[in-house]
């Protein structure tokens, strides 16, 4: 059977194509994550581009032991969104440093980005048990406080924390299983 490398392997590899594979693996989930927060499709694209540019710059800082790569990307994207509010613009430092060419978007492409950013996160996080998917989506993606989720789900914080923890672990396992 062909060896499918894990995320850490792709990031550490000296082969530029491997970063492309890493990108392919996670772009869907990242667009869904951004689509839940950013309305304008051009901004979704900007954030996605800068997130991956930062991931490329910092690829040696990724530690698989600390969580799945998708969570790492979400954290980078979240930082960028918060930063953009303060600076009133989407950061582009990493793209500039890496010399990425700006990509001009026409209306059709904007439509396409909009359609993809509306993708249900359940699809991106498919494979998790429903209760884990809900907990991961609300806590990790939706950033809701544990007590709020627990109140909604009528269960203890401990139950929610366990679901998030297991969901993240399963996400990582699922990604590792691919390799």
């Amino acid at each position: 059977m062909m060896h499918e490398p894990g995320d850490a392997e792709l990031l550490c590899s000296g082969d530029p194509a491997d970063f492309g594979r890493f990108y392919e693996r996670h772009i869907g989930a990242l667009i869904a994550f951004l689509g839940a927060r950013v309305r304008a499709p051009d901004q979704v694209f900007d954030f996605a581009a800068e997130t991956f540019a930062r991931a490329l710059e910092r690829r040696e800082q990724y530690d698989a032991l600390r969580g799945p790569a998708v969570a790492w990307l979400f954290a980078i994207a979240r930082n960028l969104i918060i930063d953009s509010v303060r600076r009133a613009r989407v950061a582009d430092e990493s793209r500039v440093r890496l010399g990425l060419e700006p990509i001009a978007l026409d209306d059709e492409q904007l439509e396409m980005i909009h359609a993809r950013s509306q993708m249900d996160l359940c699809t991106a996080l498919a494979g998790l048990a429903p209760e884990q998917r809900a907990a991961v989506r609300r806590r990790v993606v939706g950033e809701e406080p544990y007590p709020d989720i627990a109140a909604d789900l009528r269960c203890s914080e401990q139950v929610v924390r366990k679901r998030v923890s297991r969901g993240l672990a399963n996400l990582r396992e699922a990604l590792e299983e691919r390799s």
């Binding site: 000296g14 492309g20 540019a53 990425l100 809900a134 950033e143 809701e144």
Partner: protein
Amino acid sequence: MNDPFDLLRDELVRAAARSAAPATRRPWWVRRPSRPLVVFALCLFLTGSALAARGLLVSGAPVQLPAGTPLAPRSALGIPRAGGAALLPLRAADPAGGPPWGARFVATTRGYGCLQIGRVLRGQVGVIGRDGAFSDDGRFHALPVDYLYGPFPCAPLDANGHAFAGVVIKGAPASGLIEEDDCRAPGRPTPRLSSEPQRPPCPPGDERLLMAGMAGPEAVSVTYADERGGLHTVPTSGPDGAYLIVVADSSFGIEAGEYSPLQGAGGGTIRTIRYSTGYVCRLTGVRAVGEDVCPPIGEHPVSEPHVSAASLAARVSARLREENLPLRYRTRRELMIVVSFRARVAVRNGSSQYTISATAPGRGPRCHYATFGPVDRDVQRGQIVHESIATNGCHGTFRIAVGYRAGGGTDGVPTQLQPDGLPVGRTAITVR
């Protein structure tokens, strides 16, 4: 038309080809600081450590339970049983000095055994006013015995009064106050869209990896790996084979502050647990996230009366009602589904429970997934039980199932995610 995401991928691959592999860059907080800074920090550290070592840390107000936290003897974990709490001789040095970490065993009115973790000073378990706790007042704040709010390992007691449980806490602040109300881990931003108040970042280097638990009466020692992979062995303490391991830790990124309640001893970087019988439990769990745990060696299960599905079966009904749903920072008016059924079997402690699961319809952000939760309280035989489920703005038909789980035994708080118990009944309700 070119897919813009394909164009972006190609750009990134080209950039990857241009950029040589970057030199490993340490985070700024671990880079070599200037000499005056080192001297200043050393002075501060030595002064603080010396004061703490001499027990001169001034005491402040005890830690308060969050407002609204129920302290009911017959629900959730219950409250500490009279005479059921004891400070264990267990101690773990903090990597930055100061009062050591320690633990207190607490037996509760609902038949749970919990390990309350914190910093120990003058014979008390507590927290230090730092990392945002108590406005960084530097004082020692005792944890009341009934403070079971933290992510402490808890499990139903077995027939001999032993509990088997563990916890792994990633990015715990050195203060010892392991909640969400303190500082946030470095690198973990306060969410912009959340109703959470802004919190300051923890000082870098104040994060700890905590592994604690009760491995059982036969457990003798626990071996774990430190950040560099070096192995260390610590003895267990007390009749429950309690252990507590504190390791310096850098940020866990998005997982900082997360914790995993475990259904046994182990997890994290724990590699082996040795027992007096000669048995060695070897764990291969994934570092930091691992939930690989050892079996409950020395457990004597509580005998549970036989319960059949026929003896449980009851009519389940559901109706809609608007309620104020109290969240942490606000109250939300919410359309709730009130599920009702008659309990034909009593629940007398935490080792059994009724469960309610519901499948939410619709396509909203909180719809189309299953909700599952326990009726986390004692129930008398024949009592009509009412539980509410939030509709979360979902429309369509909710399918609801009530079940019953017993003999949770000593494998941790019965928080199993699957409604794997015996069926009580089902119903459905449509929200338009």
